[in-house]
């Protein structure tokens, strides 16, 4: 039983090591290093050996010395003797191995005797594996987007794997793609349009949503239940179904290619979410405050502006941030309604740019960075407010 557990433990940990080193190798390849093989056999054997030795030596040598010795051995074997790679690569391998040996040092003879120990080990390593795997899979496209925007067309064609950025070059050359999209492709104008549309949508949505949400949360009126359920149903409704009728109506009214048209559609599509989120918050405000206000002969308008709004600033700002993000990211309606480059939003402009096969990809990526950064910035900065709203089901997509 124990031998079996030791073998399984060594197998799992060596697979984990292979995964770690492979990711490091891929990243190193993308810095222009010429690595042609993962050397799985070597890594597997060393991982297996380290795990076995780890259990064998156990506490007889201090942890730090043990880790350093193991790491050195593998680095010299793999990186230095077999592949002859530069120092920074080997330092990376060393750190990975150090991390790895530290991770496995908590397992010893006694853990492995316990019931379910293999499952516990598997769970532990799966969690570690998952964290690294998902970080890599999610961050890699973003990394590529940013790095590509700093490269030149020729460099990208010569070696598509070389993603190293040459920081020694002139700032002007480094940011060339950004200068070009702002100068020749009028991205400044598109940013302005996108900002106007998004901020406008936020303002109008809040203007309409706050009174409606207050009514739904507090007042009794005929059709209240119908209204609050239909809000949810409308929220589920697909945008693609609205596209053709709205296109025909907007064409006949001359609202296509206009910011007003976009504002109307965006407001209408974000209103149900905004009302739904706000009324939930308004219900949590104690009623006594309003009763006191009614005693003071405050009108409904006064109650909303003097009591409700100041008390629900956090909820209102998170709704505002959401609506901003929805409007900023929106693509379908801007594709349908805008065909004149003068009224493009950022998303539509990037799509238009990509329609031309001649457009160098670094410009496309520079545009993508420009459209992505504000949203990610808002998201990371205000994350606390936003995550609770996300679970309330506010962002559709």
């Amino acid at each position: 039983m124990r031998t079996k557990n030791i073998l399984i433990f060594s197998l799992i940990s060596s697979f984990f090591l292979i995964f770690l080193i492979s990711i490091w190798k891929i990243l190193a390849t993308l810095q222009g290093l010429n690595i042609n093989s993962f050397n799985i056999e070597v890594i597997f054997v060393s991982g297996f050996f380290i795990s076995l030795a780890q259990i064998g030596i156990n506490d007889r040598i201090k942890n730090i010395y043990k880790s350093i010795i193991f790491s050195f051995a593998v680095v010299i074997c793999d990186g230095y003797l077999i592949q002859k790679l530069p120092l920074w690569y080997n330092i990376g391998v060393f750190l990975i191995l150090y991390f790895f040996t530290n991770k496995i040092s908590k397992y010893n003879y006694n853990n492995l005797k316990e019931e379910h120990s293999t499952q516990v080990i598997l769970f532990d390593f799966l969690t570690l594996f998952g964290i690294l795997f998902f970080s890599f899979v999610i961050l890699f496209p973003f990394y590529m987007m940013i790095v590509t925007s700093f490269k030149t067309q020729i460099a990208l064609l010569v070696n598509p794997l070389d993603f190293s950025i040459n920081f020694s070059q002139d700032i002007k050359d480094l940011f060339k793609s950004y200068f070009v999209i702002f100068k020749s492709y009028k991205f400044g104008k598109y940013i302005l349009t996108s900002t106007i549309v998004s901020v406008g949508t936020v303002v109008i949505t809040l203007l309409f949503a706050i009174p409606a949400a207050y009514a739904v949360a507090r007042l009794n009126f005929f059709g209240k239940n119908f209204l609050s359920t239909s809000i949810l149903i409308i929220y589920m409704f697909p945008a693609i179904v609205l596209v053709i009728p709205l296109y025909t109506i907007f064409s006949q009214l001359g609202l296509r290619n206009s910011i007003e048209g976009l504002l109307i559609v965006y407001t209408a599509t974000t209103l149900p979410v905004a009302i739904y989120m706000l009324q939930g918050y308004f219900k949590s405000i104690p009623k006594e405050l309003e009763e006191a206000a009614i005693m003071d002969k405050l009108s409904w308008f006064g109650i909303i502006t003097k009591i409700i709004i100041p008390l629900s600033i956090p909820a209102i700002s998170s709704v505002a941030l959401y609506v901003f993000m929805i409007a900023w990211n929106e693509f379908l309606f801007s594709l349908m309604f805008l065909d004149n480059p003068n009224s493009f939003t950022l998303s539509r402009a990037i799509q238009y740019l990509s329609g031309d096969a001649e457009t160098p990809r670094q410009y496309l990526m520079a545009g993508s960075v420009v459209v992505t950064l504000p949203v990610l910035f808002i998201f990371v900065y205000f994350e606390k407010y936003l995550v609770s709203g996300l679970t309330a089901g506010s962002v559709k997509g």
């Binding site: 009794n220 945008a239 053709i244 993508s368 990610l376």
Partner: protein, 419 residues
């Protein structure tokens, strides 16, 4: 007193909700009804434009005579298809102008030239010449004349408003449009995208629910694909997967995993041999589904994480006392606790994926076997310019969705009863 208060409360409620309700109904519910209307009509993109009578005013000086001026109106019907009835024309002139020769259809009164042109057939064009002279001998300011624009008016049929209905669109959708293939593609895309995103959501939520350094950072990173603009992400993926110089193919070739690049977004089928069985995998569709899973698993992750954090710790402690293994704990405690969230997520994601347009459109444009129903709405309506067909397809989408929701709730209701 209290009656008065109640009625005033009602009135206020209606005033407060009315703007929002009107806007939402106008932009969301009204179009859905007009969709039904349009889907029974033969309408093309070019029919949508309302025909207008137009006039271009050209002012010409007559050489040697400064008090005289010739004006040429180029009149036309903007539509190539429809006639305009009862076209009327109006143009104003300065007070000292007198007309020389009058067209029989026109009159000149109170310094205004008025004409009744009758009916203009489609593509109609005409040139109308008028000569004016000042009655006090003063010179004519050509620029000022140009600034005054003629007004035209006319009646025309709005093709959307007449009552000619046909079932042609629906017949075409169901019988000529490779409907089965379309439905199957949409189903694959929706189903596997939904299941995949939920599976990844469970995995990541389980992962983040454990304690480790940088957990909050990890949580925001996991949400990146969901909050970033779809345009940027789709083009980045396209670059990543590009067969000629894309990073993924270059990497795979570099590490000798494949010999020739694979066109992951442009190849319909790939032959695979698994355990001795040959089968064809729909490659481009699979890639698009992967993108969808990548982009939408964060939503499942968040919902499930919120639920996981609400599971009482005592349950796990009791399980530890009983000596349950981690897998047993997962299957016996965690999974039953999150089934309710998963069933809601399944419905939400199924509906939204079923209608997903942007992702597929940006990645493949619907080519190489990735044509889903929403893509078909766009293609019919705007690429083939058949608005009626596009509407019919979107009506089919709505009907399928309603059917899905009906059965889903029925099934869910049954299960709740059994519990």
């Amino acid at each position: 007193m209290s009656d008065k208060l109640i009625s005033s409360e009602k009135r206020t409620a209606y005033i407060l909700t009315l703007p929002a309700v009107l806007l939402v109904f106008g932009i969301i519910l009204f179009p859905i009804f007009s969709n039904v209307w349009i889907s029974f009509k033969e309408v093309e993109l070019k029919d949508i434009r309302i025909p207008e009578p137009r006039a271009k005013k050209i002012v010409k000086t007559i050489s040697g005579e400064t008090t005289k001026i010739k004006i040429l109106y180029k009149l036309r019907n903007s539509s190539l298809l429809q006639e305009i009835r009862d076209v009327s024309f109006q143009d104003k002139f300065p007070k000292n102008f007198e007309i020389e020769k009058l067209d029989p259809r026109c009159s000149f009164e109170k310094h205004t030239l008025k004409c009744e042109f009758g009916n203009w057939p489609a593509k109609y064009r005409e040139k109308l010449n008028v000569v004016f002279e000042t009655n006090d001998g003063s010179n004519i300011d050509k620029k000022r004349l140009k600034l005054i624009k003629p007004k035209l008016d006319g009646k025309s049929d709005n093709i959307l408003l007449n009552t000619n209905f046909t079932l042609k669109n629906f017949k075409k959708v169901l019988f000529e449009n490779e409907f089965l293939d379309l439905l199957l593609t949409t189903f694959y895309y929706t189903f596997f995208g939904t299941v995949g995103s939920i599976v990844f959501g469970i995995l990541t939520a389980q992962m983040v629910n454990q304690k480790f350094h940088g957990r909050t950072f990890m949580r925001s990173v996991l949400l990146f694909p969901y909050v970033a603009p779809v345009v940027a992400l789709a083009y980045t993926w396209e670059l990543l997967l590009d067969p000629n110089s894309g990073t993924l193919n270059s990497l795979l070739i570099n590490y000798q995993i494949i010999e020739t690049p694979i066109n992951l977004l442009g190849q319909k089928y790939i032959e695979l041999n698994v355990l001795g069985f040959d089968f064809k995998l729909r490659l481009a569709l699979t890639t698009v589904i992967m993108f969808e899973i990548w982009r939408y698993f964060p939503l499942a992750f968040l919902f499930i994480l919120a639920r996981l954090q609400a599971i009482p710790k005592e349950l796990y402690e009791a399980a530890d006392v009983d000596g349950a293994s981690p897998f047993q704990k997962f299957f016996k405690i965690t999974l039953p606790q999150i089934t309710a969230v998963i069933s809601i997520l399944f419905m939400i994601r199924f509906i939204w994926n079923f209608n997903k347009f942007e992702d597929v459109f940006l990645l493949t444009g619907g080519a190489s076997g990735t044509r889903t129903l929403p893509i078909n709405v766009y293609q019919q309506g705007f690429a083939i310019s058949d608005i009626g067909m596009g509407s019919a397809v979107s009506i089919v989408i709505v009907l399928l969705l309603l059917m899905f929701m009906f059965f889903y709730f029925k099934l869910l209701g049954k299960r709740v009863d059994e519990d």
